[in-house]
């Protein structure tokens, strides 16, 4: 496999830092990200094997957060490329800074200085985009490259990206080939708005993130919202689980629980009763139909009274 040549196993530094799955889970825990055994195993393999990790799951289960946490746990930068329809190499890889080149020409003319073409196509005039940044990253550990919502980019871009990552090198005609000293750890997220290409899924490790149990959500909330009390976090997590049992247009995710607990804190409410729910519907339900549906059940039902 092409990618194994590029990232021939993890480097010694990474290996000693993360000897096994438990070590990674602990490191993630240390940066306040709770990973269940499945996700921890998936991320561990992505770090140690030369394979990207494809994460899928409902919106709001922490796909993007997982990549960020991995970067923090490894103490290495995260380069994030948000994909969108029509994204191309200039937005993902690099682009020449033409306005600046032009300015350079004018300045040189004004000063009467000699100007070489090489001066204009030097590293100073190169605009580096996330893919190139991740490949250029100087170490000591590989950077984490997050390709967010890869399904939004078109299939051609997907193929191009994987070509670059497989080589772990970028060729800029004017500068030559830039080869990665530390090929990045690649995490992709997808919502499956289109079927991903076989070539992509074949190369990737795959993990589906399930919505966690209320206890786990409460634990995540307690860590993410400073000063939140455990009973409130547990109550909010349970209430959201209850909400998710309804047929909602937009079922609230972990992010909504966090927002909700934070909002309750701002409102000075420390107990989740019917009144508190009435005051803060908007933090959890962000769709009018959902609002109405939940209201027919009543605030007391949601509060668990």
């Amino acid at each position: 496999m092409a990618m194994s040549a590029a990232r021939a196993g993890a480097e010694a530094e990474v290996r000693t830092r993360l000897p096994d799955v438990a070590a990674l889970a602990a490191a993630l825990d240390g940066v306040d990200y709770l990973a269940d055994p499945g996700l921890a195993t998936a991320m561990f393999l992505a770090v140690r094997l030369p394979q990207p990790l494809l994460l899928e799951g409902e919106p709001g289960v922490g796909k993007t957060e997982a990549a960020k946490a991995l970067a923090r746990a490894l103490d290495t930068p995260l380069f994030r490329l948000q994909c969108f329809e029509g994204i191309d190499a200039a937005e993902a890889l690099y682009e020449w800074n033409h306005p600046r080149q032009l300015l350079g020409i004018r300045l040189a003319e004004a000063r009467g200085a000699a100007l070489d073409e090489d001066d204009l196509f030097g590293p100073d005039y190169l605009l580096r985009r996330p893919l190139l940044q991740a490949i250029e990253h100087a170490g000591p550990r590989p950077a984490v490259l997050l390709l967010d919502e890869i399904d939004r980019a078109d299939a051609e871009f997907e193929a191009f990206t994987f070509e670059v990552l497989a080589e772990a090198a970028v060729t800029v005609p004017e500068l030559g080939t830039i080869r990665a000293a530390h090929p990045p750890i690649v995490v992709l997220t997808s919502n499956r708005t289109r079927d991903l290409h076989d070539a992509l899924t074949r190369r990737c490790l795959y993990h589906w993130i399930d919505y966690p149990t209320p206890e786990r959500v409460a634990e995540i909330v307690r860590r993410r919202v400073p000063g939140s009390e455990e009973p409130l976090a547990v109550a909010a997590a349970t209430a959201v689980t209850r909400l998710r049992s309804l047929d909602l247009v937009k079922p609230p995710g972990i992010a909504e629980v966090i927002d909700w607990v934070a909002a309750l804190g701002v409102l000075g409410l420390f107990e989740l009763d019917a009144a508190a729910v009435e005051a803060s519907w908007g933090s959890v339900l962000k769709n009018r139909d959902d609002h109405e549906l939940a209201r027919t059940r009543g605030a007391a039902w949601l509060a668990g009274a």
Binding site: L45, G86, P99, L102, T193, R202, Y206, W208
Partner: protein
Amino acid sequence: MPDLPAVAPGPLAVAFTTALHRAGLPVTPERAAGLTRALQLVPPVDRGALYWACRVSLVTDRAQLPVFDAVFSAVFDGLLDPADSRGDPTAPPSIGSEPRTGPSAADDRPAREGPAAASGVGTSSSGNGAEGEREVLLAAASAEERLHTTSFADLTAEELESVRHLVRRLVIGTPERSSRRTRPSRRAGARLDLRRTVRTAQRTGGDPVRLVHARRRTQPRRLVLLCDVSGSMEPYTRVYLTLLQGAVAGARAEAFVFATRLTRLTRQLAIRNADQALARAGATASDWAGGTRLAEGIGRFVADHGRRGLARGAVVVVLSDGWARDDPEDVAEAMRRLRRLAHRIVWVNPRKAAPGFAPLAGGMAAALPYCDALVSGHSLTALDEVVAAVREDILG
């Protein structure tokens, strides 16, 4: 920790992937090699570790999980102490929790049969018995003309086969929308492409002699087809599936079928050999010719696929007679949600062709207010109407 039989990662990976392959999962030798490496890194000290290493390395889609879990359970649970996984939330379910195995389960389904045998399906009621009578009719009208105007339900097996060949050639095109990408344009008045202008200016010593304008490219809208394959639609299903197949292969459409539950068939239909595609589709969707749950089918589509972006700005074609078991109110709700996402909804109801048809069937009546067009699509000629409705040539 249970006593795991000492098995080297390599043979274990090969044996397990073989079992998965037999169950119909797309596992390649490359994946087996991947699993071997994974098992070297994550020693399978208990069921959980083994499960996750296998799942992360071998599964490529959430839809594969039930089969994967069942095979995992069948292969390993004999070897492992069940007590080890008791109460473990990450433990896979035991065997048979969802009986979805591979192609073998579908051997007796219509779509898996060869073209000759398969063409008898769905027409058996009107088929061979009336052969003699048909000969006379065919002599009267030219065969081609007859093929074009007769309802799919009244065609013989052979005719249906010819119709499917014609349907395969049908080209469905969606209206265009402007995309984010631009292309250079000479027309002034369009947006100025500063970057390109500056780049061309470098050829003229930095003086922008020629201004380059940019115009947005257009792109065809996405096409999504939802086909009802319940019992009442049976006479039409085979032709419609051919239509779906052509749209997937030709117009990059997304195809779903539903009766009691929704199944995405895009991948199965994407291969160009129509009969093979239909066979694979038949193996995947398991509720052919069951009852219809319209609200469930459309609702699932919106919740699991449509809202994630698949239906946004798309042209959605629903092929169904609107006879459903569920509450019309639920159908209306599902359609309302779909309406908000889709650019255009075209409803194809083969019963519309019947004399005196009025969209009164519960589901149909509920769905109608949310449709941009209701066409019959019951015969070849009527399918032209479907094409026109998708292209927005006819309204209402």
